[in-house]
Amino acid sequence: MEMIKTVDLHKSFGDLHVLTGVNETIHKGEVVSIIGPSGGGKSTFLRCLNLLETPEKGHIFFDGVEITGKKVDIDLHRQKMGMVFQQFNVFPHLTVEENITLAPKMLKKKTAAEASEMAKDLLNRVGLLEKLNEMPGNLSGGQKQRLAIVRALAMEPDVMLFDEPTSALDPEMVGEVLDVIKGLVSTGMTSVIVTHEMRFAEEISDRVLFIADGNILEEGTPEQIFHNPTHPRLQEFLRKVL
């Protein structure tokens, strides 16, 4: 079943043509990693999927609905698309618990008790239960990113988008965040992950996309992409990073 589908997606920043007509379909339950050189358009592509960037041309379908259409309430669709950012973007003025419960209470009309119960459950899953009443300013980077992940999960999304979730972390904290993501995808959560962690991508992905120069230049199973790359750009890229 198709979860997200893009048709001829174009995006420019000024004179820079970042996406040059991307066609891609992501299916329910699929775990898709996106790799590629910096500035190749990976993050822009991901951010287009929930319209944090507005493409100037092309169509995006989410769950069968064209969200690039005119009369679409994008806020409603975003509730079903969780997103995790490179810079965590946890809310510093709210406690750990409030970070998680804010959106469910406002948008899903959950009672305070229900939301709190869910927050505790989620925090427990990522080992942060004891931080329930802490301010995010007192958390380490890895803890903040784990919080950001469960904040997105609290909306019970159909798909999770990860935008380089470990790039801003100190090396010793990368593992804890990757473990959480691993745990999450093993539950069958549809996930799209932009990452520089090649071994991680190889391990967890059903499919890997190689994006460079504004388009998907090659895609396939991790086995194909990492061990039998055909496109010269991908071969060159892998030589550099592996």
């Binding site: 975003r78 406002m106 300013g137």
Partner: protein
């Protein structure tokens, strides 16, 4: 210059006219300042949002207003509000004091709107993106995520604006509106003791502004602390990761 003479004069003016300075002058200066900053904040917030509007024409008018007010001397603005606007709007039967207060509000609003706008824009863009990605609307994001964080940038700057306006109210004494500088003009005019009276009002201004600026400084320091959002939370930051939760 004969300083002993000057001190005697100051002492005499103080004993004779203390009520003119303190009761009338300080009272009216405080009233004008509080009105200007409070209404200036309300109106300034509106202007700040107009300036950030999606519509170019709205942004344009907000910019014109801000640039005109910030780019012209406040004395000129006082003249306009005192002389010209009452002529243009004869049905608005305001007293001179009110017109001057309005002029100060309009002036203050332009500066406050820039304080608020820059306070809002100083909040990390990622905060908005995170909120929008959860499904919060533009308004919800502004109210629940951006504004609460912007307030910590805005409040200390507003405190400074209060101090600025407090001093600028002295220009309203051009129309003998009853503020502290008017007290000075009255006493100096009756006694021909300009410098002495000026030293007195200067000292009074300083006695008001100095504690205020100390307060603002203390506030700024407090705001810089990440725990300031919730002061009951004083636990030390825990470094390094904890355990990964098993499912």
């Amino acid at each position: 210059m004969d300083f002993s003479q000057m001190f005697q004069n100051i002492f005499r003016l103080l004993t004779e006219y203390w009520h003119v300075y303190l009761l009338e002058g300080v009272k009216n200066t405080m009233i004008l300042t509080v009105i200007a900053v409070l209404l200036g904040t309300v109106f300034g917030s509106l202007v700040a949002f107009l300036k950030m509007s999606r519509f170019k024409i709205v942004r344009f008018f907000a910019s014109v207003y801000i640039e005109v007010i910030r780019g012209t001397p406040i004395l000129l603005q006082l003249y306009v509000f005192y002389f010209i606007l009452p002529e243009l709007f004869p049905l608005l039967n305001f007293t001179d004091f009110i017109w001057v207060a309005i002029a100060l509000c309009v002036n203050s609003a332009a500066y406050v709107s820039e304080i608020i706008r820059s306070g809002i824009q100083a909040v990390d863009k990622g905060q908005t993106e995170a909120a929008r990605s959860l499904g919060l609307s533009n308004t919800q994001t502004m109210l629940r995520i951006v504004l609460p964080q912007a307030v910590r940038n805005i409040l200390p700057a507003l405190g400074n604006e209060f101090i600025m306006i407090l001093k600028e109210t002295s220009l309203a004494s051009t129309f003998f509106i009853g503020d502290l500088m008017t007290s000075h003009k009255i006493v100096a005019g009756a006694e021909y003791l300009q410098l002495e009276s000026q030293i007195i009002v200067g000292t009074i201004y300083l006695c008001i502004t100095f504690p205020l600026s100390k307060l603002v400084g203390w506030f700024e320091k407090r705001m810089a602390n990440p725990n300031s959002y919730k002061n009951h939370n004083r636990k030390r930051a825990l470094m390094a990761g904890g355990r990964i939760g098993e499912k």
